[in-house]
């Protein structure tokens, strides 16, 4: 697993934004997917939600958690919605 390190922007909403203490940050990461990136960031910021209850968008389009990440991507992390 010698994946290249890339710079991406992580954007946070609602409870993620409050827990991260910011609405966006630039991250240097070897993560190849939004799922892997989420694991890194959840550990760093203490996000309590499993990814399967959340959604992710890449460059303002809803995305699969296992799509490939590219240099410069904006990755939006959406906590569970209000639902009911």
């Amino acid at each position: 697993m010698s994946a290249a390190v890339k710079a991406v922007t992580a954007e946070y909403f609602a409870v993620f934004r409050e827990q991260a203490g910011t609405d966006r940050e630039t991250v240097e990461t070897a993560a190849e997917t939004p799922a892997a990136l989420y694991q890194e960031l959840a550990a760093r910021h203490g996000f309590a939600e499993h990814a399967e209850r959340c959604k992710v968008a890449v460059n303002d389009t809803l995305s699969d958690w296992h799509s490939p990440l590219a240099e410069g991507d904006r990755v939006l992390f959406f906590p569970p919605v209000a639902g009911g």
């Binding site: 909403f13 609602a14 409870v15 934004r17 409050e18 827990q19 959840a42 203490g46 996000f47 309590a48 939600e49 499993h50 399967e52 209850r53 959604k55 968008a57 303002d60 389009t61 809803l62 939006l76 959406f78 906590p79 569970p80 919605v81 209000a82 639902g83 009911g84």
Partner: protein, 175 residues
């Protein structure tokens, strides 16, 4: 060339008369609508105000997709949805859905479909402020069990003060 969105997001009070007027159609024998409002309690706690956070671009694109699904699935003429963002007071309308159809069966079914999907698929988060001074983001413990939208006990509050131990499958609460 892009068609005007049937989904909208707005920071001011929903102007339902204008939204509804866009649906006027001489072919329509029925108009079904739903308004979701800020109520004074949720899960037994007294609510005094509400804040909605929205990712508008995806709200609009995904909301339009939901309405297009409804137009394909049900024999309706047209439909619209609008959602508030920002700070709301008790009694204010947070979300409105309107549907016109030749017959009421389709109007009711499509209206229900749209509000259910909107509540579960759009990036909209609700923070409740309680009379006791506490506040919290409202989550949906049933999101994985999407089959029971709106079921009692669906809504849960993920409090802001809870720690790492909340990182479990399902939801733990600050209450």
């Amino acid at each position: 060339m892009e068609q005007t969105a049937r989904m909208s997001v707005t920071a001011s009070a929903l102007d339902i008369a204008t939204l509804q007027a866009a649906l006027d159609d001489a072919r329509a024998g029925g108009y079904a609508s739903f308004e979701g409002r800020v109520r004074d309690r949720n899960e037994g706690r007294e609510v005094c105000a509400l804040h909605y956070e929205v990712h508008a671009p995806i709200c609009i694109s995904e909301g339009d997709r939901i309405i297009a699904e409804a137009l394909a699935r049900f024999d309706i003429l047209d439909a619209r949805c609008s959602h508030r963002t920002g700070d709301l007071e008790l009694g204010e309308v947070a979300v409105w859905v309107g549907v016109t159809a030749r017959h009421r069966d389709a109007a009711f079914a499509a209206c229900r479909y749209i509000i259910d999907e909107v509540k579960h698929r759009l990036p909209i988060w609700k923070k409740e402020f309680y009379v006791d001074g506490d506040s919290g983001w409202v989550n949906c413990a049933g999101c994985a069990g999407h089959a029971h939208p709106g079921a009692p006990g669906d809504a849960r509050v993920a409090g802001l003060s809870a720690g790492q131990d909340r990182r479990v499958r399902g939801v733990a609460h600050s209450r």
